[in-house]
Symmetry: C3
Subunit: 129 residues, 3 copies
């Protein structure tokens, strides 16, 4: 299964949790694994609190200190060297167990798509098995 | 299967390797995958050397430079903004292949629970299939 | 299945994409998951662009700022404290869905082995199921 999303800013965190729960409900799977995979080299997926929006702003701010914009060799070609570094550190996938037809996210955990070089159309692959 | 642990400090690394090996032995699975999943937004799991304790101290020190305590927007609500950033960077899961009834950890690799906002009671989900 | 590689420098990124695609072709698997696992505590695997070599150089440079060489407690024993930190942050595994006998890497994504303490002989476990 695949989700398509349209990001609106250069950097943006988008909560995918409810969409993923809907997909798992439709598959009628009872036990197994849910893999969320982002097939892009300047985006990623992470798991974090989705209640206070400041958590995601802090996260983007911390990554900005690790990889500030505009100082990388790859910027000569694409101006998105920072986005590649952030994507590689956070990674393109998350793996979450499913039990009793439920994804085992903790109470404060949400699945968050990370845009590092938007705005763009992005795909998210959801593999349940 | 689920492990319950009680962390004792705000930041702490706890080696889960022997407990995970015991669980795999009990399942009698021969080939497959072991997924370790932490359902918390201020804790994580990583894989690292478990022989010299300085390796884990260095790891926590490096994360402290990435996300120092007390400078984040979320701190106004919870005083654990740094813990959320660390948890999102390290991630809540590890996936390790199983072969000949053995988890394929390297000689110097251990599965390490990372507490970033303790002391707390924490759960760790072990999925073997 | 297992790959063996010989790294040539202390820090080096090696593109494994074509080797992994060959392995998946040989298994004749149609749908499932490909897990790439590095059983070493001073190496890792990441996914990033593999077209412009500057992307990987930038990535190593950013990690060097997170964990500079020579300032860690573990250096007294092994002089590779920085390599352990980098390996734990990037992580030893990647999980990629397979569909229609194809690994679902994005157009600009490659599977990259990360050597942080070479030169060494290194193993990479490829689990397809």
């Amino acid at each position: 299964m695949e989700l398509k999303i349209y990001t609106k800013k250069r950097e943006e965190i988008i909560d995918l949790t409810s969409k993923i729960k809907d997909i798992i409900k439709k598959t009628k799977i009872k036990e197994g694994l849910c893999v969320i995979y982002v097939p892009h080299a300047t985006a990623a997926v992470t798991i974090n609190e989705n209640y206070d929006p400041a958590v995601c702003e802090d996260f983007l701010e911390a990554l900005k200190k690790i990889a500030p914009k505009g100082i990388w060799k790859h910027d000569k070609i694409d101006e998105n060297g920072d986005a590649h570094i952030k994507a590689a550190i956070i990674g393109p996938s998350e793996v979450i167990p499913i039990k009793n037809s439920q994804i085992l996210l903790g109470k404060w955990q949400g699945v968050m798509f990370c845009e590092f070089d938007g705005p763009r159309e992005r795909r998210i692959i959801i593999n349940v098995e």
